[in-house]
């Protein structure tokens, strides 16, 4: 009986080993492409963990796999998109103003700046999704990366309930060629 059981187990193992060894569930695919040297992205989804290296300062942790709270000041590094040095670009920042921000602060004014260039300011006083868009003239964006600094005129101060300084709920920042 024991011999029969052992024989069955052996036969099952003999069948299972080639099957398991033939399955390519985790095949290393790295040899199938030759990638360009790594560079920054022109568009950053701040809820994407891969975007972290480009979020320079003033960003809190990812929440709900989709967004982050900002602080009052926050900065991001972006790659000037192809053609933008010649054609100019549009800086777009998509965010949400939650009810608590409007209730505590009534409104917030957001401005952005590039090195040596101040972009426009805009005031937001409605709850919900919002877009900050600023035009950048041709010739401003040069090189492989550009630092963009955002500034809110006010933010929710750290409290006992939440020790963070809270500005707005950020979704994405991008530079797009005009």
């Amino acid at each position: 009986m024991a011999i029969e059981l052992a024989r069955r187990r052996f036969l099952l193992s003999a069948l299972a080993v080639p099957i398991v060894s033939c399955r390519n569930t985790h095949q290393d695919l790295s040899a199938f492409t030759e990638e360009e040297p790594a560079h920054l992205l022109s568009a950053v989804q701040v809820g994407d963990p891969h975007s972290a290296p480009q979020l320079l300062s003033g960003w809190h942790r990812i929440e709900a796999d989709a967004w982050r709270w900002t602080a009052r000041k926050f900065s991001v590094a972006l790659r000037p998109p192809p053609g933008s040095p010649m054609l100019g670009a549009v800086l777009q920042f998509r965010f949400t103003l939650p009810e608590i921000v409007i209730r505590l602060l009534a409104s917030v004014t957001l401005s952005a700046s590039l090195p040596n260039l101040q972009l426009l300011s805009k005031t937001y006083d409605h709850i919900g999704d919002a877009l900050y868009a600023a035009s950048i003239a041709p010739g401003v964006l040069v090189g492989d990366s550009v630092r963009v600094d955002f500034l809110l005129d006010k933010a929710i101060l750290p409290s006992q309930a939440d020790g963070r300084e809270l500005g707005v709920i950020a979704h994405s920042v991008s530079l797009e060629t005009k």
Binding site: I19, C22, R23, N24, T25, Q27, L29, S30, A31, F32, T33, E34, E35, E36, H39, L41, S42, A43, Q45, D48, R79, P81, P82, G83, M86, L87, S174, E176, T177
Partner: protein
């Protein structure tokens, strides 16, 4: 009693009892065909997937419960065919066990083929009484060019598997004729019935059995009559699901083209159809004529002497080929895989007979056989090389795209430098879905490098319009790869820079509504595009290029949901740049819908037009709370 031991007892064997090839150890007679099979087709063991394989491989992802499994196994697909064993179960089973490792699929093909070769050798032994003739028949068959496709392409496994059922059933018929045992008769029935799950050609088996018994074992003829009933029922059911195409490659033509089609297949069966026209010279033509004469004269002479075995072999060829003869516009070499079994047995029997004649006859048949084998094996190897290399190119492409998606999951992948072979054997069949990648496109202009096959599909469905790729380049939504000999090479930066300086931002005349790259063309009313849905609410707008010439039409298509299918048609009101088009009733009873409108000439030449859509009725599909109008997949002006 094993019928292999009954050689002297069967009538054919007794007729050829005095004719014997030089004796070899019996094992060699069985082994030689198998060794030749591996020697000629060994590349087939390492070919990857290509073309239709991807449709079958994608089946596994559609199975979530028992109902899905039954649907995947038995629902009519691909010209209404139902081949549960040779296509559905074959791909589902091996993919479940081994993933996308092609080698186990290929080993299964080779093992089945080894069984077929053994059965042919055994059947020929039984019919001729000669082990050497059995060996020769298997060798002649395995060398035939018509087997290349089946030995190189997993989707053609149906030919090999159906061969197994046909040969197996016939083998048990021979055993039944010899032994009279009911068990042999029922084994024949079992294999015959299983063959219906393999390939439609299986319907001809009763004709084979009837022809054999009529010519060589008449007292068993009546026992073959019941076999016709399953074939009649299957033919009726198959025609019901497959329908009959009035046009296209699979349309049946019972006309004057039949003899011409038969002659083409006859020529391909004797000399390869692979040689390029320049090489297909006098030698091949002479060989074709010589082999034809030798075989046909042999049949006539033997019939006049009352030996009906050659006539049965010829009948095998004609009977098994008959279902595909009306496919005038789809003459394919692999359709010969099973008919050529008859010719292989015929040729082996002719050799056996010649061996008992004068030396001149022996030399003649040896020369004919050698010429046939040299020509066939030469082109077997060339064409196996082609199939093998093409499959590996497809593998590099598919796995390269999968890698690109791993590295850039939020971007669409654009391929540059795709050849005709890669497109039709790979991209056209959307193999990337196996890795969850849907957004793969070709660079503008790719269609000029790819040979068009309009009856098969449109290349332009895969090519990004210039305006769309320009927008995607500006918004950093794409990665661009160039297809290289060894791997895909990322060229995103240089391609985007060139695109921005050279491409015009024209609005496209074809809009893929499911592509994330065309989202900028849709008004804010639309719900976000999903993998297989882009819903509009009650009304919506989109921008696209205007008609280029008078008489062009706006075509729109999409998918209907089960809830819509049960209701009356939806009224769709369309206006283009404010010009109202006639109201259309959209029939949503099928899985897809298409509507088209003739565009007014006043719109011709406009670089962009605003299309406004409005439906008279919307619905909600709980728990989805959205108000849903129509689900579009494309818009096109042509």
């Amino acid at each position: 009693m094993n019928s292999l031991d009954t050689e002297t007892a069967n009538p054919s064997a007794s007729r050829v009892g005095s004719t014997r090839f030089p004796s070899l150890p019996d094992a060699l007679y069985w082994l030689i065909p198998l060794v030749i099979c591996f020697a000629v087709y060994w590349r087939g063991l390492t070919t990857w997937f290509q073309a239709d394989d991807f449709a079958w491989l994608n089946l596994l992802s559609t199975i979530h419960d028992r109902h899905d499994l039954l649907h995947a196994l038995f629902a009519p697909m691909a010209q209404g065919s139902i081949r549960p064993w040779s296509e559905r179960a074959f791909f589902l089973g091996f993919e479940s066990l081994f993933g996308l490792n092609a080698i186990p699929f290929r080993i299964c093909v080779f093992l089945t083929q080894c069984a077929n070769l053994t059965l042919i050798a055994a059947i020929t032994r039984r019919l001729t009484g000669s082990p050497a003739a059995g060996c020769c028949a298997a060798v002649f068959w395995v060398a035939n060019n018509s087997l290349v496709t089946a030995m190189a392409w997993s989707s053609a496994y149906n030919q090999v598997q159906c061969g197994f059922f046909l040969l197996g059933a016939f083998w048990f018929l021979l055993r039944f004729v010899d032994s009279g045992k009911a068990s042999d008769y029922f084994w024949q029935w079992g294999l015959f019935l299983l063959g219906f799950g393999s390939l439609e050609v299986n319907v001809v088996y009763p004709a084979l059995a009837a022809a054999y018994t009529l010519l060589l074992a008449r007292k068993h003829f009546l026992s073959t009559i019941p076999l016709f009933f399953p074939s009649v029922i299957f033919t009726f059911v198959d025609r019901m699901f497959a329908g009959s195409e009035a046009s296209g490659a699979y349309a049946l033509h019972f006309d004057a083209a039949l003899p011409s089609t038969l002659l083409t297949y006859w020529r391909w069966a004797l000399v390869s159809d692979y040689p390029p026209s320049g090489v297909y010279g006098r030698f091949e033509f002479s060989l074709y004529i010589a082999l034809s004469l030798l075989l046909l004269v042999f049949v006539v002479i033997r019939c006049r002497r009352g030996d009906w075995l050659p006539l049965f072999c010829l009948a095998w060829f004609l009977i098994v080929l008959s279902p595909v003869l009306p496919l005038r516009d789809h003459i394919s070499d692999y359709y010969l895989s099973l008919p050529t079994i008859g010719l292989a047995i015929l040729a082996a029997y002719a050799m056996l007979q010649a061996w008992s004649r004068r030396t001149g006859w022996k030399l003649l048949v040896v020369a004919a056989a050698a010429s046939y084998l040299i020509l066939m094996v030469r082109f077997d190897r060339i064409s196996m090389h082609w199939w093998h290399d093409r499959s590996l190119a497809v593998q590099r492409l598919v796995l390269g795209v999968a890698r690109g998606h791993q590295l850039h999951p939020d971007k669409s992948i654009v391929l540059d430098g795709v050849s005709s072979n890669l497109f039709w054997a790979g991209i056209f069949h959307r193999p990337f879905r196996l890795f969850g990648v849907n957004d793969v496109y070709l660079t503008p202009g790719s269609e000029k490098r790819i040979e068009a096959h309009d009856a098969t599909g449109k290349i332009t469905d895969f090519v990004l319009p210039k305006g769309v790729i320009l927008h995607a380049a500006k918004t950093d939504e794409i990665v661009v790869y160039q297809v290289g000999p060894d791997r895909l090479k990322a060229i995103t930066s240089s391609y985007e820079a060139a695109a921005i300086s050279t491409l015009s931002p024209d609005l496209p005349r074809r809009v893929d509504a499911l592509s994330p790259l065309t989202a900028y063309l849709f008004g804010p009313e639309w719900y976000p595009a999903e993998k297989s849905a882009h819903w509009m609410p009650r009304s919506a707008t989109l921008r696209m290029g205007g008609p280029a010439s008078p008489g062009q039409r706006l075509h729109m298509g999409g998918f209907s949901s089960a809830l819509q299918a049960a209701q009356a048609p939806v009224s769709l009101r369309v206006s283009v740049d404010g010009v109202r088009l006639p109201e259309a009733r959209v029939d949503l009873r099928g899985p897809t819908f298409v509507v088209s409108y003739l565009l007014p000439n006043e719109l011709v030449g406009r670089t962009g037009v605003l299309i406004s859509l409005e439906v008279d009725r919307t619905f909600r599909n709980a728990p989805d709370v959205r108000e849903l109008g129509l689900n579009f997949s494309f818009f096109e002006i042509r």
